[in-house]
C-alpha cells in the first residue's frame, strides 16, 4: 500500500473500501498471502464454552497448589528477616547488633549478598557470626553457577551496564569456596512464627527474579499465591523497596527491602524486617537502620566502584536500575 497522501475524496474512499473488503468479518489479511490451513487444523479444538460445573472444575484445578516438601523451621516468637546485602558489610554488622538488641531468636537472609558495594568476602564471616539462615537470590544462583551476568531482569542498556560492573566486581572478589557455599543454599524456607507459617523466597514463589513492588502486586494475586502455597505470610526482597500488606484474609505479604542500599527516599538509612507473634496476628516492623554509610562510601571509592553507586549510598536516591520501577514508585524517585 502506498504511503502517499490520497489525492481527493474519491481516492480516499476507494482506499478505505479496499481496506474494509480485505478484512470483513474475522478474517486475517495475511491469509491471502500465506495459507493458514495448518493453523486451522492445529486449532480445530480451540474455543470452548464450558458448563458451570466444568468452569468450577477448571478453576479449582488451576488454583490448586502443590505440596511443598520444604521443612518448617521454628517456632519462634520473633525473627529478623533481611535481603539485598549488596556487599554492605557495615550495614549488615549494624543489623546483627540491632536484631540482637530487639531479641530476635533467628535471623533469615533472603539473598543477593553481592553486587553494588565493596569487599564481598567481608559479608561471609558476619553471616556465620550471626548464625544467619540464608536462601539463594539471583546473585547467588548466578555466582555459584558461574553465569556471565546477575540475571537481575533489567532491559535498559544503562541499567545492564551498571549491573554488569557490580556483578563482575563481585565475581572477581569472591572466593571459589564462598561461591560454592552459595550453591548449597536452599531456594526457599518455611518458618513458623507463633502459630503462623511464613514462606521465605527471594523474588517470588514462582521466579527467583520476579519483581514484587507494592504498586504492582495486588491483593487478589497475593491471596491466590498464599492459597496455592498454603502459607500464612509471604516474605520476599529483590526490588530493594520495602512494603507490608495485611490482606483481607488476615494473612500478610512483606517485601523486607534491602539492608545494602537505601530505599530511594533521599535518606541514607537501610531497612530490614522484624516479624513477631502478636495476639492479633503477625507483627511486622520494617526497621530503618542507620549505619556508618560514609565509611562505606569511602571503601567504595577506594575500590574504584562507580561514583553513581557511591552517590546512592550517601544521598539515599537511586541513580541506576530505575527502569524497572513502576509508575507510582517512579513518581517519588529523584532520578
Amino acid at each position: 500500500m502506498s504511503n502517499r497522501k490520497p489525492q481527493g475524496q474519491d481516492e480516499q474512499r476507494r482506499r478505505e473500501r479496499e481496506r474494509l473488503a480485505a478484512h470483513r468479518g474475522l478474517a486475517t489479511w495475511g491469509e491471502k498471502l500465506v495459507p493458514l490451513g495448518s493453523f486451522r487444523e492445529a486449532t480445530a479444538g480451540a474455543g470452548r464454552r464450558l458448563a458451570p460445573a466444568g468452569r468450577a472444575a477448571a478453576t479449582a484445578a488451576y488454583l490448586a497448589g502443590a505440596d511443598d516438601p520444604t521443612p518448617v523451621e521454628g517456632p519462634f516468637a520473633r525473627i529478623a528477616v533481611f535481603g539485598g546485602v549488596y556487599n554492605n558489610h557495615l550495614g549488615l554488622a549494624t543489623l546483627l547488633e540491632d536484631a540482637a538488641r530487639r531479641g530476635c531468636e533467628a535471623l533469615y537472609c533472603l539473598g543477593d549478598l553481592g553486587g553494588f558495594g565493596p569487599h564481598p568476602e567481608k559479608v561471609r564471616p558476619l553471616l556465620e557470626t550471626g548464625d544467619v539462615r540464608a536462601i539463594q537470590g539471583n546473585y547467588e544462583e548466578s555466582l555459584a553457577g558461574g553465569a556471565g551476568d546477575c540475571n537481575c531482569g533489567y532491559t535498559d542498556p544503562r541499567d545492564n551496564h551498571f549491573a554488569a560492573l557490580s556483578y563482575n566486581y563481585t565475581a572477581e572478589n569472591s572466593s571459589p569456596a564462598f561461591k560454592a557455599w552459595m550453591g548449597t543454599l536452599p531456594r526457599r524456607r518455611r518458618v513458623r512464627v507463633g502459630a503462623r507459617e511464613l514462606l521465605l523466597v527471594h523474588g517470588s514463589p514462582r521466579r527467583i527474579n520476579e519483581f514484587l513492588f507494592e504498586s504492582t502486586t495486588p491483593v487478589p494475586f497475593l491471596e491466590v499465591l498464599l492459597d496455592q502455597e498454603r502459607a500464612d505470610a509471604l516474605l520476599c526482597t529483590h526490588t530493594g523497596l520495602h512494603w507490608h500488606r495485611r490482606l483481607p484474609s488476615g494473612r500478610d505479604a512483606v517485601n523486607v527491602g534491602a539492608v545494602g542500599r537505601p530505599p530511594n527516599d533521599g535518606r541514607p538509612e537501610v531497612r530490614y524486617a522484624v516479624v513477631e507473634e502478636r495476639d492479633d496476628g503477625l507483627g511486622v516492623e520494617l526497621v530503618p537502620l542507620a549505619y556508618d554509610h560514609r565509611a562505606l562510601a569511602e571503601e567504595m571509592r577506594a575500590e574504584r566502584l562507580p561514583e553513581e553507586f557511591v552517590e546512592t549510598i550517601l544521598s539515599g536516591w537511586w541513580t541506576t536500575c530505575l527502569e524497572i520501577l513502576p509508575a507510582r514508585e517512579r513518581r517519588v524517585s529523584k532520578f
Binding site: 500500500m1 504511503n3 497522501k5 478505505e16 481496506r19 474494509l20 480485505a22 478484512h23 468479518g25 474475522l26 478474517a27 486475517t28 489479511w29 495475511g30 491471502k32 498471502l33 500465506v34 495459507p35 493458514l36 495448518s38 493453523f39 486451522r40 487444523e41 492445529a42 486449532t43 480445530a44 480451540a46 474455543g47 470452548r48 464454552r49 464450558l50 468452569r55 468450577a56 477448571a58 478453576t59 484445578a61 488451576y62 488454583l63 514462582r206 513492588f213 504498586s215 504492582t216 502486586t217 495486588p218 491483593v219 487478589p220 494475586f221 491471596e223 491466590v224 499465591l225 530505575l322 527502569e323 513502576p326 509508575a327 507510582r328 514508585e329 517512579r330 513518581r331 524517585s333 532520578f335
Partner: protein
C-alpha cells in the same frame, strides 16, 4: 536463501506445532476500544480504523464480570488496548474500577489526550492504590517518518498528547515499532530519547516492538513466508515462559482470545469466560513465530 533450514522446518511441521500451557494467568488484556480507531495506521496488525467494527467498544458492564473472575484467579496486572481506548466513553470509569483490583496500563495513540483528560488521569493515578501507566505509540522521531505510517499530521498531535501527560505529571512509556530498521538502532533510540527529553520527560522509557506481518502490515510490509512457522522440535530448553501466551489472555466484546495478537483470528478465541481458557494453545500461527524469534511480549 535459507533453503535447507526452510525444508527442515516444513518437514518437522508434520509432527504438529508445539503447545504452550498457561503457567499462570498474570496479565489480562481488554480490547476495550474494539477494532475501532480514529487512525488507520498502515502497519496495524489488527487493521483498526474508524470503520472496522470486527470487535466493538466494551462497556464497563461487560468488563466488570471479567474483573471479578480475574481477581478470583489471582491476575496480577491489566492492560487496555484497541483500537483507541479513549474512544470508549467509559474508559476512565473502567480504569477506576480496574485500579481497585490491580495495576493498569493503557495503550493509546495519544490523540484524545487533551489537558483536561491528562489531569483526570493524574487524579485517577493519585487516588489509586496501584500503578497506572500510559503507553503512547509513535513510529518515527520526526513527522517525515511517523506520518506515512500513522497518518498525515499525526506526529504533532501525538506530541501534543504526550506533552499534556507530562504537564500533568504522568510520564508515559513510548511504544515504537520496528517499522523502520532505524527505529531500534542505537542512533534511532538516541533520536527518540532526544525528542522525549525535549518534551520534558526526564526518565524516558521506550518500548520497542517488532512488526507482525498480518492485518494492514501484511499489505504494507509483506506477509509471512511459508517457512516462518514453529514446528514440533522448536521448543527451547528453557521452555515457553518467555512467550506471553504462557501468562496472558485477551478479552474482547466477543469472548476470550489466547493473546493480543490473534484477535482477528476466529480460531484464536478460546472461550467465553476466563475459566474456559486455562488450557494450552498450539503455536501454529505465523505470528507465533515472531513472538518466539523476537522474544516479544506486548506488556511493558
Amino acid at each position: 536463501m535459507c533453503e535447507p533450514a526452510a525444508t527442515a522446518r516444513e518437514s518437522a511441521g508434520a509432527a504438529g506445532p508445539p503447545r504452550v500451557a498457561l503457567r499462570s494467568l498474570d496479565t489480562l488484556w481488554f480490547q476495550v476500544g474494539g477494532t475501532v480507531c480514529n487512525l488507520a495506521c498502515t502497519h496495524c496488525f489488527v487493521s483498526c480504523s474508524p470503520t472496522n467494527h470486527t470487535h466493538e467498544l466494551m462497556p464497563l458492564a461487560q468488563i466488570l464480570p471479567y474483573l471479578e473472575e480475574a481477581a478470583a484467579l489471582g491476575v496480577k496486572e491489566y492492560y487496555f488496548t484497541g483500537g483507541e481506548p479513549f474512544l470508549n466513553p467509559e474508559m476512565e470509569a473502567i480504569l477506576e474500577a480496574t485500579l481497585r483490583r490491580g495495576p493498569a496500563t493503557v495503550l493509546t495513540n495519544g490523540l484524545l489526550i487533551d489537558r483536561h483528560r491528562a489531569r483526570r488521569l493524574r487524579r485517577l493515578a493519585d487516588a489509586a492504590e496501584y500503578s497506572l501507566d500510559l503507553r503512547v505509540s509513535l513510529d518515527g522521531y520526526d513527522a517525515a517518518s511517523n506520518d506515512p505510517i500513522r497518518g498525515e499530521g499525526t506526529f504533532e498531535r501525538i506530541l501534543a498528547g504526550i506533552s499534556h501527560l507530562v504537564e500533568a505529571g504522568v510520564d508515559p512509556v513510548i511504544t515504537v515499532t520496528e517499522v523502520y530498521d532505524d527505529n531500534a538502532s542505537a542512533e534511532g533510540k538516541r533520536r527518540f530519547f532526544e525528542l522525549l527529553s525535549g518534551l520534558g520527560i526526564d526518565k524516558p522509557r521506550l518500548k520497542i516492538l517488532p512488526v507482525f506481518h498480518i492485518g494492514a502490515e501484511a499489505e504494507r510490509g509483506g506477509a509471512y513466508e511459508s517457512w516462518q512457522r514453529l514446528a514440533a522440535g522448536d521448543a527451547p530448553p528453557t521452555g515457553w515462559d518467555h512467550l506471553q501466551c504462557s501468562s496472558c489472555r485477551m478479552v474482547t466484546d466477543q469472548g476470550v482470545w489466547v493473546c493480543p495478537i490473534l484477535v482477528n483470528e476466529p480460531a484464536g478465541k478460546m472461550g467465553e469466560a476466563l475459566a474456559d481458557t486455562l488450557d494450552s494453545y498450539p503455536l501454529a500461527h505465523p505470528a507465533c513465530w515472531t513472538c518466539h524469534v523476537h522474544g516479544v511480549s506486548c506488556k511493558t
